[in-house]
């Protein structure tokens, strides 16, 4: 293909970010559900606090209804999925109809899960589709640059969420090192000095998650 315009690289990057957002927040949501079962029925407010969204839910029941399924709630999982769709639909010629189909399937299944008697089991299908989507990205998309921009988006979002959710140092370092690889191969412009600063922070034994998060936001330019 060879030519990626500003608009198109933007769509690819955000396609990566939103699919990852759906993936990780959904996994974390399933974990939250589990905690709420017996140990802490109010645990959803912890989730809201960690990923930095306003707790508008008020009750566990309302949270269960709205956080995964409410299209009018811009922080909901389905809203992230819709945004992934918005970015995918304009990129059919770059990512392929076969790849796009998994976003469509994820949307269809999350809507089914809302009406299901066992929504959690159905939501697992959504995770399956996202994983299949990434499989297609690796398998079907020939152009290395296109793959790398999508994966860069995915990596940046994952790092951001892992930092927010307080994942282990090991996981942060692993994701950072992957993301750095995608960044260098993406051909996108980035700030060398920011990269250097993050590098040296992560080299130390102890680093501040919040600082890394802020630096990450300034990494990619334009």
């Amino acid at each position: 293909m060879g030519i990626i315009t500003v608009d198109k690289s933007d769509h690819l990057f955000w396609l990566g970010r939103y699919t990852e957002r759906v993936h990780t927040t959904l996994k974390y949501y399933l974990k939250t559900e589990d905690v709420m079962l017996d140990s802490d029925p109010e645990y959803y407010s912890v989730l809201c606090q960690k990923i930095g969204i306003i707790d508008v839910y008020g009750s566990r029941e309302n949270f269960k209804k709205r956080y995964p399924f409410d299209e009018t709630d811009e922080n909901s999982i389905i809203s992230s999925l819709n945004k992934a769709y918005d970015n995918a639909i304009v990129m059919r010629d770059y990512i392929g109809t076969e790849t796009m189909a998994y976003i469509q399937l994820a949307i269809d299944d999350i809507k089914k899960a809302e009406k299901s008697n066992s929504p959690i089991v159905d939501l697992m299908l959504v995770i399956d589709h996202i994983l299949a989507f990434w499989g297609c990205v690796n398998d079907i998309i020939d152009d290395e640059q296109i793959r790398n921009i999508i994966k860069l988006g995915k990596g940046v979002e994952r790092l951001d969420l892992y930092l927010s959710l307080g994942s282990s140092d090991y996981e942060i370092r692993r994701e950072y090192s992957r993301t750095k690889g995608f960044l260098k191969k993406s051909g996108l412009r980035y700030d060398e000095s920011v990269l250097y600063t993050i590098d040296s922070m992560l080299d130390g034994s102890d680093f501040n998650y919040g600082n890394v998060k802020n630096l990450l936001r300034n990494l990619i330019q334009g």
């Binding site: 500003v6 608009d7 639909i89 469509q104």
Partner: protein
């Protein structure tokens, strides 16, 4: 065939999976709708298709001659085969195109010719679409899915593969390409046919663009990447209409067009598919003259018939129309997509009188046609029962180094038993169209 019918639901589900949708605006809101697919194919026998192919190639070749003449020396007007009023007052006649010769002198590269079959098996041309005919992608993908869903049907029947549409289209773009990449210019994802734009881009390897990344410089068109690097564009398969194409030449308020693209085209530095200004040839008023055009330019008799048509513009036709008003269908030449169509017998006395006044005041605005007794095709209704419905066929005729007819087409049907209108924008569905190889 039974396995196809059994698969109906599966195929529709797969079509949903692949996002085979069209956009529609309802109450000002954009919605994506699935295009309902009926799994009973329309079958065209090999010799019947050969006849259609001859007729369609002849028709499109004559229409291309007509366009070259109208925007060139205008012999057909000077020889008084077509009255000048029908050309120069047509909305589709674009003065800026006068004297402009497109690459290889091809105006209509992708023509969508709508036909119907009557009860006595004869085919009639219903209308020509030479601007931005859409719909080829739907049967393309439906066939792909049908072959997966019911492979035995395709090994037992000799159906010509229709999945070569993208190759045909690419050939047509390459033929007129002036040296550069092929792009498909779409108004964006909120256009009704966006699925088709993106699907054809994927399948032809052309770049899908909304024009934001295109500039015109030194009378050439360039596609610009995120580092500011430029790549020349040789052919634009544009899916936006003439008036929005270039705000500097046509509709000044257009925000989806590309400023000065028309100048690059005028100087022969880029091919536009289809050429701007084609609307003068697919005007409903001009339709009447197509058989005359075929005789005039090619010296042949038209192979495919028009539906019997009257022009109230001519006094004797007006008289006929007034005498037979109830048996005719009257069409406003400026409307498309099934709008502006009036069946004489459907009007109340009062409305009829009103309409006749209008007809007398603006005879040039209307054509009248005999109502063709359609040959109905079976579809499966909600309960899985076969029921007959009105259907038409859009044949795709592609003009590259030669003119070819795609061995398939878009068969659209009306879901409403009383309706003649098959347009997807008015709730119709589609079928696959099989051309048998023997």
């Amino acid at each position: 065939m039974d396995s196809l019918i059994k698969n109906s639901e599966t195929i529709n589900r797969l079509l949903a999976r692949y996002g085979v949708k069209f956009g529609i605006y309802k109450n000002g809101e954009f919605k994506e709708q699935l295009f309902p697919f009926d799994s009973i194919p329309r079958i065209i026998k090999s010799d019947e298709f050969a006849y259609l192919e001859r007729g369609l190639r002849q028709r499109v070749d004559a229409l291309n001659c007509f366009l070259a003449d109208i925007y060139g020396k205008k012999h057909i007007v000077k020889d008084m085969v077509i009255p000048e009023e029908f050309i120069f007052s047509a909305k589709g006649f674009l003065a800026p195109c006068d004297g402009v010769c497109p690459p290889k002198n091809i105006y209509s590269h992708i023509s969508g010719i709508d036909l119907v079959q009557s009860k006595d098996d004869s085919w009639y041309i219903l209308e020509d679409n030479l601007r931005v005919p859409s719909g080829a992608s739907y049967p393309m993908i439906a066939r792909e899915l049908q072959r997966r869903g019911a492979p035995d049907v395709f090994s037992n029947n000799h159906v010509v593969d229709n999945r070569n549409y993208a190759d045909l289209l690419k050939e047509v773009m390459d033929n007129v390409n002036t040296g550069g990449i092929n792009v498909i210019l779409s108004p964006g994802r909120y256009n009704a046919a966006f699925f088709e734009h993106s699907y054809l881009a994927e399948k032809t390897g052309a770049v899908l663009t909304t024009g934001k990344d295109i500039v015109c410089e030194n009378d050439n068109l360039y596609y610009i990447d995120y580092n500011g690097k430029k790549q020349r564009i040789g052919a634009v398969y544009r899916r936006i209409s003439d008036e929005y194409l270039d705000p500097m030449t046509f509709y000044e308020q257009s925000v989806i067009g590309i400023p000065h693209i028309f100048e690059a085209y005028r100087k022969g530095n880029v091919a536009l598919l289809n050429a701007p200004g084609n609307g003068v040839a697919d005007d409903k008023g001009i339709y009447y003259f197509v058989p005359k055009m075929i005789r005039y330019y090619l010296g042949e008799d038209a192979i495919l018939m028009n539906a019997p048509t009257y022009l109230p513009f001519y006094d004797e036709d007006m008289e006929y129309v007034l005498d037979n008003f109830d048996n005719l269908v009257i069409k406003d030449v400026a409307e498309a997509g099934g709008y502006g169509v009036v069946f004489g017998n459907s009007l109340t006395q009062e409305k009829k009188a009103e309409f006749i006044e209008l007809l007398k005041a603006q005879p040039r605005r209307f054509i009248a046609q005999e109502v063709i007794d359609f040959y109905d095709l079976d579809i499966l209704d909600e309960n899985g029962q076969r029921v007959p419905r009105k259907a038409d066929l859009r044949a795709f005729v592609l003009t590259g180094s030669t003119t070819k007819v795609w061995p398939s087409g878009l068969t659209r049907f009306s879901r409403n038993p009383d309706s003649f209108i098959v347009n997807s924008s008015q709730g119709g569905g589609f079928k696959d169209t099989w051309v048998l190889s023997r």
